[in-house]
Amino acid sequence: MSALQIALVGNPNSGKTALFNRLTGARQKVANYAGVTIERKEGHYTAPSGRRVRVLDLPGTYSLDAASPDEAITRDVCLGRHPGEPVPDLIVCVVDATNLRLHLRFVLELKALGRPLILALNMIDAAERRGIAIDVEALSRELGIAVVPTVAVHRHGAQALIDRLDAQALPAPQPHPVADLHAEVRRILAVAVSSARDSAATDQAIDRIVLHPVIGLVILAVLMFVIFQAVFAWATPLMDGIEAGFGALGEALGALLPDGVLRSLLVDGIVAGVGGVLVFLPQILILFVFILVLEESGYLPRAAFLLDQLMLRVGLTGRSFIPLLSSFACAIPGIMATRSIADPRDRLTTILIAPLMTCSARLPVYTLLIAAFIPQRTVAGVFNLQGIVLFTLYVAGIVSAMAVAWVIKRLRRDRSEHALMMELPSYRWPHARDIAIGLWERAMIFLKRVGGIILALTVLLWFLSSFPAPPDGATEPAIQYSLAGRIGRLLEVVFAPLGFNWQICIALVPGLAAREVAVASLATVYALSGNEDGLSAIVATQWSLATALSLLAWYVFAPMCLSTLATVRRETNSWRQVWIMAGYLFALAYLASLLTYQIARWLT
């Protein structure tokens, strides 16, 4: 029997992702639709009959009358109009049983297509808890399609659906033309659903506090602050462990291999480079845990609601909040997340400022410099001084992003109205399994990036730092004679007003390609210079405070990693945007560092 091809569709917040995870588990493949950069998620499972079922998770949509590029994908696949995507054998429409008034309209739209269709009546557990009684038989009869209750977050919550799909082929519904979809929804609800009491009471009670103009903002600020303190505090033991592991690995390899180019490449190039990058994985994962929990629980759109006016004033939208928050982990997923902004103009502005959000790749530089120059002290009894400095750097990024967005708003020609119209879903307890799958997905994206680009760059840098070998009778450290040393000295002319020494200049080159490489590069440069101390100790003793602050300022703007630029190219389909972004970031970084260095030198 050939594989069954099904497509999951549904309104946003119907529990579609959870159902997809429930059906396919970890057997998922995440890619992009050809030509566009909308995420294409496919997975598979084996039905009890032994039949293979391939599941396509289509982007959430309110209507087939698409209002954004990802809604257009869903429409095209459902209509069988998407090139390169086979028409699904069956459309599984996922609805939230507690929100049928909204979701059923889309079901009727799908039914009108006249393709095989089944309804997954999801969150039936939540509906029961809220006293919403649904007569599944009646609902199925009135809709004219099969209806199966599911609880996507319970272990066997999708079993009924799996069995139903396995039992026999589902027929295409008879499409009756319906003049007024809303009237039809009301009629069906009257027959099949009865609600005992106001079913949104809990949400309302929570929202009264969370969306309160003052308390709500305090909660949001505290939440952000806690997240950053946690990222800094919890990750440390894990990072120490990884660091020690790679140190030991380097030593073991060094002892095994004879002195020479190969040993140098392995120990100073590859092991040091990979270790220097992996060490920051704990921070990224911790950050993503928070983002995923906020997303799952339904809090993120609330934050967007609270901040919408603020964002609007600088030319953004509340919806920009989610992509920008993701950019704190990495600008790449952040820029990709801007797809949820239906409006091209808002989307472009969000993309342009996303790199100003302090991505985790900058944490290595921050961590190194903060550890070396800022004393580990407790302020006001509870706060960690290093944490406060880190927080300040994040705020600097946010403030400059706002400023840039404001300037873009002034410069652009189109000043027409653009919509928010955002659903605030019910609050829900996040489920560990869905968080874990989301975390795994993101970790893999980060590691794949790290694995490829960064390793290549680290090896390239090792090559630049090792060749050509110093002449006989050389007195200076070998690296000064190498290609890297020469490039560094050339760049030093440009960067001297910022207080950057040639070691920093060398590290900046691969640091432009991927920010997280900068620290690994510094380590390589110093390790090859014959310094055996920890990098932190070298930095603390050999750099001036002004240089350190200047480098911190540089990294608030950090002109660009190539991966980010490549993502922007893909998402905007325009080289012009790429150049604009790289250009303005470089200019800002140079200016900020120049000011910081000159002022700090004048003060100290």
């Binding site: 008034r101 103009p213 609270l306 006016q309 004033r313 919509a419 659903e423």
Partner: protein, 83 residues
């Protein structure tokens, strides 16, 4: 009365959605989201920074709408005053 003028927590009923411009995509989406004649509607919260956007409850669904978007929706308050 427009939805944007409805006082907070005063129950009302949707009368319709008016296009602000020709072929108004925002108005169309509002209708798709359930802002159609006869639906009960209520403003449940106002955002900080000038009370915009509004949190609008329609049925048991809550939407954040900017005032300019809410202004497209005409409502009649439940006590019968003004449409």
């Amino acid at each position: 009365m427009r939805l944007s003028e409805l006082p907070k927590n005063l129950p009302a009923t949707v009368a319709g959605v008016v296009d602000a411009v020709a072929d108004d995509a925002i108005a169309r989406r509002l209708r798709e989201l359930g802002f159609v004649a006869g639906e009960p509607v209520r403003i449940v919260a106002l955002a900080p920074f000038g009370g915009d956007p509004l949190l609008v409850q329609i049925g048991s669904t809550r939407f954040a709408l900017r005032r300019s978007e809410a202004a497209r929706v005409t409502v009649a308050s439940a006590d019968g005053a003004g449409a």
